[in-house]
């Protein structure tokens, strides 16, 4: 990827180990979000059906609500706050678990990305947790922390900076050449404009 200014044809080598860009990361995030949403929906559905079956007595002809002490438990389990809490816990565990054990969530694995510590080591549990909490910091001011990836030299978002991590390509990433020629043209015209001013 060493393309000096003035060269017309870029030298395209593979980008394995280079910092991953915004679109790849957003796409990985979307895939993770879909997986999480589907899992939570299915889990909620199973819980609700089970609780309904127990409380209406469709299953064995006995309503669990009538058993002393069980009714309040069912009501508690049905509480939307509890479901919300469990969902939030699941999202946290999903990110922390996969980032710590595999260095990548399923979405990142599909897009060939991996989270590594800035020292090049594996990400620890604490860093995984910090990184997850950093998502909220990045999202709070109109998601600026996420968009920071676009202008940062190491392509780090605020959550990466907080946890001191990088997201890198693990595959022999190679930009699509047709696409690349267009973008290089735009970049060079930008550069020409900048230098003329």
């Amino acid at each position: 990827m060493n393309q000096t200014q003035g060269q017309t044809a870029p030298i395209i080598t593979d980008l394995q180990g280079y910092y991953a860009g915004f679109i790849s990361r957003v796409l990985a995030f979307i895939i993770d979000a879909i997986i999480i949403a589907l899992t939570i929906t299915v889990f909620n559905w199973i819980v609700w059906v089970t609780l309904d079956t127990l409380s209406t007595g469709i299953f064995l002809g006995i309503s669990a609500n009538k058993i002393p002490g069980v009714g309040p438990v069912i009501d508690f389990l049905r509480d939307s706050f509890l479901i919300g809490f469990l969902s939030a816990l699941f999202i946290l565990l999903y990110h922390v678990f996969f980032t710590y054990f595999a260095g990548q969530t399923p979405g990142k694995a599909l897009l060939g990305l991996r989270v590594v510590a800035v020292e090049g080591k594996r990400v620890s549990v604490v860093r995984s947790l910090l990184r997850y909490l950093g998502y909220f910091v990045s999202a709070a001011p109109l998601f600026i922390g996420f968009f920071w990836v676009l202008i940062d030299d190491q392509r780090q978002g605020w959550h990466d900076k907080i946890a001191r991590t990088y997201v890198i390509y693990t595959w022999e990433a190679r930009p699509d050449e047709r696409f690349l020629s267009k973008e290089l043209y735009i970049l060079s015209s930008h550069h020409r404009r900048g230098s003329s001013q």
Binding site: I23, F147, W171, D176, G194
Partner: protein, 270 residues
């Protein structure tokens, strides 16, 4: 079902035919083969006609779209042909077009001639039959006329019998061919499904296709990464990047040692 023509047949001939039909065994090789061929032709022709109709419509539309407006308006077909020949300028193309034109014009001519012949025949019949009527009443001609009527009746009976057989056999032929086709296709797919090498091939192809899709998506996102970054940096008036930022060697080494699931799968396939 009683054939209307068979009432004109001698009683013993009709009985003989019925006997043959009833005595015929249910499965006769030659009959089944004939049915298969007839059914095949019938299905093939149906399919061909429907396709041809569709293709003709599409071709007409395409030709109309491709021809310049000047050629479409106010120029005779012959003139259009001449324009086309002049445009191509190649002797081979001209000869080919002439051949095609000749074939189509010959077909038109034949159709026209057949129609003309029919018209002339009817005209002759109309004008000659009043003249022949008195002759037919002559006692000398009567035996010949009876013989002629018998021949006509026999011909009509034969024709009616063919139509009836055709009517019955066409349906069974079509059913037989359809069944033969569907069972052959089923057997073919069963064979494919049971064949381990074919199964492996399909499996590998499917995984290969999925890998290709993933790779394509990745390539595009990598390109989009750089592209969007260029725009963002332009907006914030930051110096455009001439190369993707490289991390420290430790991080790069780590990436090389950590192969993704996708790559492991791909290596296994190879």
């Amino acid at each position: 079902m009683e054939n209307p023509a068979s009432s004109q047949l001698p009683a013993d001939a009709s009985a003989d035919m019925n006997q043959i039909t009833q005595d015929a065994p249910l499965f006769v090789h030659s009959r089944s083969l004939t049915r298969l061929v007839v059914g095949g032709i019938g299905l093939f022709m149906d399919e061909l006609w429907s396709r041809l109709e569709e293709w003709e419509t599409t071709t007409d539309r395409q030709v109309r779209e491709m021809l310049p407006a000047a050629q479409q308006d106010g120029i005779s077909p012959a003139r259009k042909g001449a324009v086309g020949v002049r445009e191509s300028g190649s002797a081979v193309v001209t000869a080919r077009r002439a051949m095609i034109g000749m074939i189509f014009q010959a077909e038109d001519n034949i159709r026209y001639s057949v129609a003309q012949a029919g018209r002339i025949g009817r005209l002759i019949e109309k004008s000659v039959s009043p003249l022949l009527k008195p002759l037919a009443r002559l006692p000398l001609i009567k035996p010949a006329k009876r013989r002629y009527d018998q021949l006509v009746a026999r011909g009509e009976m034969e024709l009616a019998s063919w139509i009836k057989t055709g009517e019955e056999q066409e349906l069974s032929s079509r059913i037989l061919m359809t069944r033969a086709l569907s069972e052959t296709i089923d057997a073919f797919f069963d064979y494919l499904a049971a064949n381990p090498s074919v199964r492996d091939l399909v499996q590998t192809q499917s995984t290969g296709l999925a890998n290709e899709v993933v790779e394509e998506v990745r390539e595009r996102t990598v390109s989009a990464d750089t592209f969007l970054e260029g725009i963002a940096r332009g907006i914030f008036r930051k110096t455009p990047r001439v190369e993707v930022p490289a991390p420290s060697p430790e991080v790069k080494i780590k990436a090389a040692s950590l192969r993704s699931i996708h790559q492991r799968g791909k290596k296994r396939l190879q």
